[in-house]
Symmetry: D3
Subunit: 320 residues, 6 copies
């Protein structure tokens, strides 16, 4: 039996086996009273839902959500999406399965660019900050939070919701913001800082190992205010010499106002040209990512995709 292709490229009526991360496992009861298993599987390119109908009582003990699994079965078409009818499923045995090509990183969805390349680009960009005190502050924060900043997702679902997605999102925003700073004569230093810091609170808002979840303070405080707290801590622990207090206030303002308006969770609206540009670019980048992803994910027939709920529209598929 053949190995399955990447989930981003899988069609229906495909039979084979593969290694995945099992994100979710749930016992359900069908309408005729029989139990079956619902699972959610992931490789580095995407997700698929699956069902196990045979030997449920035995099979459900063979693996858990959060574990890597070896799966065999056939894809199907159900309610407009491809899903997986699982014949066999068990947890991975690392040594033995390595022989068949199992590697953890192939089962974890991640950003398309390699993390080291992105990290290098980030440091290079920060090096362009002209004000030495600000540059030092930003580098301190990057070093302090490097472990998380390298791998964190940007969100639980909506956009860049995979390993190193936050870093990818920061860089995308930073590059556009630098261009716009020059185009409009805005302060480049502030925009580089804002691109780095605007979502830094996500490192505390979300927990992430293989799955992404909200922390208690993520829900009760939210990444915007958590980010301001992280900035304040950095300033307090290592006060940047010669940095005016009002510059710190402007940095806080960049973080606080980056959702653009109160109804989107910013307690204040952008009141400087840099804060306005940062919020606009953040919104743009998140939405372009959603458009891209919907065009990639959509399986519906015809020239237009199904309706994207958040964007509230169909999209014209590119004619290839």
């Amino acid at each position: 039996m053949a190995k399955l292709p990447l989930l981003s490229e899988i069609g229906h009526d495909v039979t084979g086996w593969g290694f995945f991360l099992c994100l979710d496992k749930e016992v359900a009861t069908s309408r005729n009273g029989a139990a079956y298993l619902k699972v959610e599987l992931q490789d580095r390119s995407g997700l698929i839902k699956g069902k196990v109908f045979q030997d449920v009582d035995t099979v459900k003990l063979e693996f858990d959500a959060g574990e890597f699994v070896k799966v065999q079965g056939r894809t199907n078409f159900y309610q407009g999406r491809v899903e997986f009818v699982v014949d066999k499923i068990r947890r991975v045995m690392p040594e033995r399965d390595a022989a068949d090509g199992f590697r953890e990183e192939d089962c974890i969805r991640c950003a398309p660019r390699p993390v080291d390349e992105m990290w290098g680009e980030l440091l290079e960009r920060l090096d362009r900050v002209a004000d030495p005190a600000l540059r030092a502050l930003l580098l301190t924060m990057v070093q302090k939070h490097a472990d998380r900043l390298r791998i964190w997702p940007a969100a639980r679902r909506v956009h860049h919701a995979y390993r190193s997605g936050l870093l990818e999102h920061i860089l995308s925003i930073m590059n556009i913001a630098i261009f716009l700073a020059d185009q409009y004569g805005a302060r480049r230093d502030l925009l580089i800082a804002g691109a780095l810091l605007h979502d830094i609170g996500k490192l505390q808002e979300l927990s992430y190992d293989t799955a992404t979840n909200y922390t208690v303070e993520g829900n009760l405080v939210g990444h915007i205010v958590l980010g301001v707290g992280m900035l304040r801590d950095a300033v307090r622990d290592q006060p940047p010499p010669g940095m005016p207090a009002e510059l710190v206030t402007e940095l806080e303002h960049l973080i606080l106002s980056h959702h653009g308006d109160l109804e989107f969770g910013s307690p204040v609206k952008p009141m400087t040209i840099e804060a306005f540009l940062l919020a606009a670019v953040d919104d743009l980048d998140a939405k372009v990512h959603q458009i891209r992803q919907h065009l990639d994910d959509d399986d519906s027939p015809g020239r237009f995709t199904s309706v994207h709920r958040r964007l509230d529209r169909s999209l014209l598929k590119p004619s290839s």
Copy 2:
């Protein structure tokens, strides 16, 4: 010539003299090209707008906005409000005018209850906090900010916008919140803390001596996030022994969510019963205060007041 009555009780066609704080002074040009002075005057009970038509060039040098003044003139009815046509105006000469009864405190609008009485009540309420670590934290914060907390207004315009208005507002909310905590079995300690802390950031958001204004960080950060910062600083400077981290997070949540919804400037919605109650009581108290004030201020004829813009309605005047 008689001394004028309190501004809250003044009618039109009244002639006399009095001492006031001059809040605003502006030179304007009438439609026939002549200059005149517009002033805003305050005593402890309220405000009045006035105009000086005579000897403008001389008179305008006799006093400044922010100074106490002695004024003589006659009240008038203009565009639905009583205003003051000033015949004479000059800055107060403290020693000399004391003889005629001038006292600074009579010229500054302030809460109806004496500040010491309110302060005593506040301390008594805080004493009811059962958790010793929380009680200590709250007392520390009250002592640290006592100077401002005793006299600060609760807002620049909308409600409790006068000396000690914030303290009056805190006490009003605290009393109702304690009642509701018992009524609904909510945590009384948290509600007392929330009543004290929810607007504590106003001490940094607003500057106040005789006039009230927004500070730079008041505009760019806002009292909600400033309040969280003040709480964090207090916890960090003097960590309350034995206080669980999550309780601090819940206190932050109380501050952050107290506007009730995102569109009103809270970055998170209330997610505990105490946060919900606090936001509801804060809204209630602010609106009752606006209703009261509009009923007091309105001079329009008939059984109903003029339309209150924020509340978007007329009010039935109490039949006396």
Copy 3:
């Protein structure tokens, strides 16, 4: 086989029998073409959905929606909620089942406090009305509608949706309103009257025996205007001597404006301080009840509940 625990406390994988009120019974067809029965069962503490897969053609004749039933089976976990897989179900045989402890009142969801205790409290509160004409009017209405007022639910679904829920809701509002009347110097008589009358139209809007439904005039007219009609009838049938016409108009205004704003179904906004307070307290009490109930009902894992649709948020579960 053991007797089942109260539905409010039942978990999954519990086997046993019990007595319930059957609220709903529907024949459905599973995806493999087989018929099964969907039922909704109630005891005094809550609700559960159930399914019958065996002997459907026979079993479906053994009971009807609206009847008390004896049920045997096992609980299950389906789509995030506990449900009941029914093995046996039949209508109750009152004499015989009494021996096993069947009592009608154990199968009907009702307010936590005993109705007689609440009724006594209501009469005591009304006795505090100072104006004798108003007091007489309120007592007349209470006596006239006592049968329904004692047992009616406050709503079909949203809050206090069980036996005597309306009375519970009235008392809760009345107690808070009395406190606030004193706190803010509002007219206590009017607030007591408003607390009693604001939802009185529910007695005509809803039909209730064991199930709750909207009547034709409930849908076409609504409880707000029905309530005003009931007040007008009472005034017309037995005119309270010496009561000024405008007081009746104010009572009507209290009923009409108690949803607080036009978009929520009040044809006028609150224009007196009492009407404002009543609407605020009604909203508060309904929402606190929904929060409480969602915290009680939610079975989801983790520190936060699932999202409550109406309140549009998750809630932090109390740490026990």
Copy 4:
């Protein structure tokens, strides 16, 4: 000196005299401290604002708001509207001024069609109601309220805001509703009844002699619920034999839902095809009237009118 033309046709720089109803009189103070009088004058075709600058102290005693006046002066252009600079103004001396052609009815704004003609049309339409009990009920109500129904305006400002405007509005709606009932197979009887009754509460909501104002119950209860009360009183005083209770409920529903949605002040939405049609036609007629009036009133230059605030748009002027 010539007599002035009708106000609907007056331009600027016109000098002359005329008889008017004085709707409003107010003493104001100009920026140079001098008193002047602001008046609002009406004839049967429209309104004009005016100012008196000379002999204010004497002149202001010569007439009052609500009286008929004889006025002499010249029209002017001020802030985009024609206004009147008054040279002489005094109250009408009926006998003497009759010689110059004074007639009260020429000074009161009224509907374009004669009231008797409209009244005859109304009775003819009601005669078409097929159900004898309903026809009797409607005729009873018309007779009972004939005095007011013949002359009442439909509103204080927005549309049909003049003598007999309500009757004009009722007839316009009734004719369209009858047409639509036939077009769509809806119940003609109900639509005739709805056209008559939908705004009947305006007779209690508004007071009207020469000026129009809200009554206390107009503000606190509103014409929608007042109208239902008037219907209920009629049914109770003289129960229409053989009329089913549900038909009365449907009539109440027609009145209650005729603003079309909650946010516009209807406590319920239209739930029958007749209620839907009535609300649609009422909205249509009111808006067409506003469009017409704005096209008539607008004095701005160019092909488009100034922006109409309620309709939130400019209108293309008809090319004549």
Copy 5:
């Protein structure tokens, strides 16, 4: 076995056979892993959903979506709607099945009135246009697009979504618009033209043979702007002699503004009385059609229908 009744009149538990158009065919997997077919069937009176559980692999090859089929089976009640459990299904054999009464037109949902009758009425109405140039333009457009205009549906789903539905909708609007033009003294010619042209772009927005779908330009441009393009093409190809350019602009405005407001897809708001009336009547006709259809389709028990999502309300069922 008996022939099935019309779908608009079918109940549950009916067994029989019939001819239908198959609108949709999809293979699905039930919860026990077995495949089944979901189909959507149509006759001239309505739609029904159906399922095939037997011999799925064979049966699914016997017909396709878009084909006429002969079906045998039994109706069922599922989730509040009648559906069809199919025992046999195959594509129609025209010659052979004609003997059993198969006619294509019986399987295609269409407007209640015969198309030739409606077409004659349309031409008669256009003949009433007084301006010869405008009349000629309209007739040219009608002739050019006659093939589609006779049979096109007015929409894919919401209202008049069947053969000749657009023509039915145009006539309904035209008749009301003519009445209102006379009632309000608006330009009848413009309203006739507007009724014809307002949705003319639907002929390009939608594709229709037996099914209705959006075209690429239907989605990307929309029927409003497509309709303006069709008008411009007609004017350019055959310039109506003597027609002023501004009249063409007014016709474009009628098309562009007929959704009444920006949020509904009109790029401009109605700025003439005719444009306002057209938009109001279009909205009215579409909504009355939805109300009618919901009353016809609804199978729920009780005096009120289920909630209609777009209209956001239940409807009172007519008492028969």
Copy 6:
């Protein structure tokens, strides 16, 4: 007497003379009954309002709105803005005043960059379009409309509301759009075309010589649909060889959707990534321009500007 500085740099209490374009002239009456003149004056850098109090009857004949004028007077501070009290004003005598430095172009507000430089940049950008048919189409349109395209403003008020403002706005958008096309892998050709065409309809929507106004078709049709018409005309007059029909449809979609959402006047939402980017950049550029202009224009004291109505916020003034 000195020549006045540029209006963008003028303060109050400045006396002098200058040349301006008179945009508006109106006779008004002051509260004491005296006539005065209100004028609006413009130079290339900005606007100022002015008043003439002396010799009004003579002076008002000396010039008209739309003419160039020579003015002498003194600046003043009135209601928070600098205004001009005019002592002398007369129309320019071109030959004579040339001696004092009068040049028409100094009196017309225009974009900061020279038009020829911008025009060259536009042609260079269009040259980068890779598809020859599209490039030819765009160049044809640019040549056809060059006269207007070089000088047209982008709006009557909101942003880029001056000579060559449209060209400035097009270039700004085009440069950002090219950058984003590369950043996100979108089609550069389409974005260049969209940047050029999105507002092309403004050439018909607005009339412009020295003043800017809406045309009749500007109001009734709007620049979005006018732009599509101009594109269609160009394609029809000179069909670009080999250009697929769908590409034209996509160009139309870019124009139609560039306001981003229905409520902002786009009849369709962006459904391609290029349409989404174009709408986002258009919004960004317009808002940045408004922010810049408000920071330039604002004269209010303190660290923050007055509230900008459209942006609904104050702005932090750059610390210089």
